[in-house]
C-alpha cells in the first residue's frame, strides 16, 4: 500500500503500477481500478477558476494508511495506493489518483468508494476554490455548497 503527496502533476501510471505489479504468471487479481479525481470547471453554479490544495503531510499519510487498512479489512482487495496533489491546480488537472487491485471487481469498486469517502472525512487536505467573484475553503460554513451539502459526507468529487 503506497501513499504519497506531491506538488507536481500526478504520475497515474505509477499509482497503477504500485498495485498491479506482479511477478510473471503470479497475478491473483482479476480487477484493477484507477480513480482520477479531477478539477471540474464548475461547482454547483459557480464557475471555477482554479483550486488550491494544502495538506498536513505527515498526518495525511498516516490517515491514508489507517483508512486503507480499515478498507482492506472490509473488502477483499489485494492492494490500494493513493497519490494526492497539493498546490495550485488548474481545471482538468488530477487532484488525486487512487488505484485498487482485487481478485473480483465488486470488491475493487466498493473499496474505491469506501476509501475515497473516508478520505474526504478524515485526511487533512484542504481545498480552496477560486471561482469568479471570490474564493472559499470547501466544507466551511462560508462554502455555499458546503452549508447544504457538507463535503464530509463524501458525495462530492473532487
Amino acid at each position: 500500500m503506497a501513499f504519497s503527496i506531491t506538488r507536481d502533476p500526478i504520475d497515474a501510471q505509477a499509482v497503477y503500477a504500485a498495485v498491479a505489479g506482479h511477478a510473471e504468471g503470479s497475478n491473483p487479481d482479476g480487477a484493477v481500478l484507477v480513480f482520477y479525481g479531477t478539477v471540474r470547471n464548475k461547482t454547483a453554479d459557480r464557475v471555477v477558476r482554479y483550486l488550491e490544495y494544502e495538506c498536513y503531510e505527515p498526518m495525511a499519510l498516516a490517515q491514508m494508511e489507517r483508512i486503507a487498512a480499515e478498507v482492506k479489512g472490509r473488502h477483499a482487495i489485494s492492494d490500494l495506493a493513493c497519490t494526492h496533489r497539493v498546490g495550485k491546480l488548474e481545471i482538468g488537472e488530477d487532484a488525486m489518483v487512487v488505484a485498487v487491485a482485487a481478485p473480483h471487481r465488486a470488491a475493487a469498486l466498493a473499496a474505491t468508494e469506501d476509501f475515497i469517502s473516508r478520505l474526504k472525512q478524515d485526511v487533512p487536505i484542504w481545498k480552496k476554490e477560486h471561482f469568479e467573484g471570490g474564493a472559499v475553503w470547501i466544507g466551511t460554513p462560508e462554502d455555499p455548497q458546503g452549508a447544504s451539502e457538507p463535503i464530509r459526507e463524501g458525495d462530492e468529487v473532487p
Partner: protein, 81 residues
C-alpha cells in the same frame, strides 16, 4: 511544557500563522491549549465549531492531555479528493 501548534486553511488565514510555539502548564489538555489560542487570536475563536484537533498524526479529543514536545494541529473541515 512546550507544544508546537500548526494552522491550516481557514485557521492559518485567521491567525496569519502556519505554526507557533505554546507554553502550557504540565498536564494541560487540548481544550486548555485551545482556550489560550482563542484568547490570543480573536479571528480564530469563531472557527471553533468547525475545528477538530490532532495531536501528532491522530485526531484528539478536547479532553486529551498534551505532553511536552508534541504537535497540536487545528483541523478545519477537510476537502481532499
Amino acid at each position: 511544557m512546550r507544544v508546537q501548534v500548526r494552522y491550516f486553511a481557514a485557521a492559518r488565514e485567521a491567525t496569519g500563522l502556519e505554526t507557533e510555539v505554546l507554553d502550557l502548564d504540565d498536564g494541560a489538555s487540548v481544550g486548555d491549549a485551545w482556550t489560550t489560542l482563542a484568547d490570543r487570536h480573536p479571528d480564530l475563536a469563531p472557527l471553533r465549531a468547525q475545528l477538530r484537533f490532532a495531536v501528532g498524526a491522530e485526531f484528539a479529543a478536547e479532553a486529551a492531555s498534551l505532553a511536552d514536545g508534541q504537535t497540536l494541529a487545528l483541523i478545519p473541515p477537510v476537502g481532499g479528493g
